[in-house]
């Protein structure tokens, strides 16, 4: 499924080893034993691509945030402290593995675009590889057992990231959130809901095979995209001047600002994206890059690592906002709003 509204897909798969308590209740020696055992499987097993094990103790805040921003690590794992934590990246970032976070293992995969099924195939294959050595905690009725019983069952949580500025602006997501909650799906804001970037994900055991859950998310996503498109059309039809005004102002700030915080850049790019999608804005500097990709690489750790050669050690430094503004001025230099 391709659409400028559906921006990214992410999948997490939680597993625990039978015979051990879950990480928060287990002692340090047992967690360390599990961590080293898993790393041995990753480095010694036969995998299609190599695993790269990271030493969390030696990583600074920028490196950790960079992994979170790339969708390789969850914010919850990055914030977590505790014994026996481990982390590894598969291939060039096709997938990753958190060890001793909330659960013993959590496999993760993240891609731009909307192919959740491909992510499930990959993670299920990696899961099979781990299971050749590990014995998983499983109950025929509950399914895979996890520290948080709401996650038991498939142990899978899938996220479809959508760009929904019109539905968010008009407060129309509340009805969708209520409707979805009844079917055990939820809406979660990414980046605190800035720019109307919202994730649809499954909540709680569904009593369905994983592929059916993913199909259902696909169905929900199609419905939400349709609603977003219809509200955008309504906004342009009923408020043509205000709509153009908002988009034009956003473009002006992106072209002229000399200091640009991340949260502001997301809101502005979101407004301009609505203009691009409606054929009102031409932004040749963007090329074929989706605007969500641009938002992603403007996150603080991305700016520091990719554009500042890590010269700044603090993600909150004003220099990061200045660099971001410089990038945006260059990218949107030739952009125009059509009259």
């Amino acid at each position: 499924m391709t659409s400028s509204v559906l921006t990214a897909s992410a999948l997490g798969l939680s597993r625990n080893e039978s015979g051990r308590r879950f990480p928060h209740a287990e002692d340090a020696a047992a967690l360390e034993e599990l961590r080293s055992g898993v790393i041995e499987i990753l480095t010694g097993g036969s995998w299609d691509q190599p695993w790269h094990v990271h030493d969390l103790e030696k990583m600074d805040a920028v490196e950790v945030d960079h992994l979170v921003e790339r969708g390789l690590m969850t914010p919850a794992f990055a914030d977590r402290t505790g014994e026996g934590r481990g982390f590894a990246v598969y291939g060039d970032g096709e997938a990753s593995l958190e060890i001793n976070g909330e659960d013993h293992l959590r496999l993760l995969a993240y891609r731009r675009g909307g192919d959740l099924t491909a992510l499930w195939s990959l993670l299920s294959r990696l899961d099979d590889g781990l299971e050749t050595v590990l014995s998983y905690a499983f109950d025929p009725q509950w399914g895979y057992l996890t520290a948080r019983p709401h996650r038991a069952g498939s142990g899978m949580r899938a996220y479809a990231t959508l760009h929904l500025p019109a539905l968010t602006l008009m407060g129309r997501l509340s009805e969708t959130a209520l409707e979805l909650a009844g079917q055990r799906f939820g809406l979660t804001p990414l980046w605190g809901g800035l720019g109307g970037i919202i994730q649809v994900s499954n909540l709680g055991p569904q009593g369905k095979p994983e592929t059916e859950i993913l199909q259902q998310i696909g169905h929900i996503v199609r419905g939400v995209i349709e609603k977003e498109r219809s509200v955008r059309k309504m906004l342009f039809r009923e408020n043509p001047v205000q709509s153009r005004d908002q988009i034009g102002r956003a473009l002006g700030l992106l072209q002229q600002a000399w200091s640009m915080p991340f949260h502001e850049s997301v809101n502005l790019i979101s407004a301009v994206e609505v203009g691009i999608d409606a054929g009102l804005v031409e932004a040749p500097g963007l090329g074929s890059e989706p605007t969500f990709g641009l938002m992603s690489r403007l996150q603080p750790a991305h700016v520091v690592v990719d554009y500042m050669d890590r010269r700044v050690g603090c993600l909150e430094s004003p220099a990061v906002d200045e660099q971001r503004a410089r990038l945006l001025r260059e990218l949107f230099a030739g952009a125009v709003i059509m009259s």
Partner: protein, 192 residues
Amino acid sequence: MFADESPDWNLDLDGSVTCELCGEEPAALHLLRVVDGVISHTHLCPSCAETVADQTEGLALVLAVPSVLRRLGKSAPEAEGIQASDTDQDVRFCAVCGTTLSDLKESGVVGCVKCYQVFSEYLAASVSGAAEPVEHLGKIPHCGPEDDSLRHEMMRLERMLRELVACERFEEAAGVRDRLTELGERLEGGAA
């Protein structure tokens, strides 16, 4: 990438929190507002949430809290029944990891596999809103005990049987029923 799942996003209100606006109805929704770049969270009843979301200038997003919705969907005696059985189990604790029911209620996490048995009634009611957990019908471990695979296959077939009967496809349903009987006998034979 993955959204930040801070406790604010996952509040599993047990119905005891009242709406922060009217102070009367139980809070069933989590309202996120972004006004001038400032993010605020409020817990509201459905009607107040709707009003506030409509009046907010800027971004307003209502996030439902599923467990409360499930509870609201129940009739009053049923909901009370869940609470009563909770009270009966309050003294329970898991002998393997030491988790108590109040730990579980407070944190939403269990300490080990055994907790699923010790707190089974509470977990079934709180996770699936029923006396039994939602049947898992997805992937199962390849290397698990054969009994697990058999039970899992039987659950899958039972579901199929219900669906076939509902569609009045009785001939196919009979075949599934025979296969279920066969698997049941194998399971009993293995256990004996």
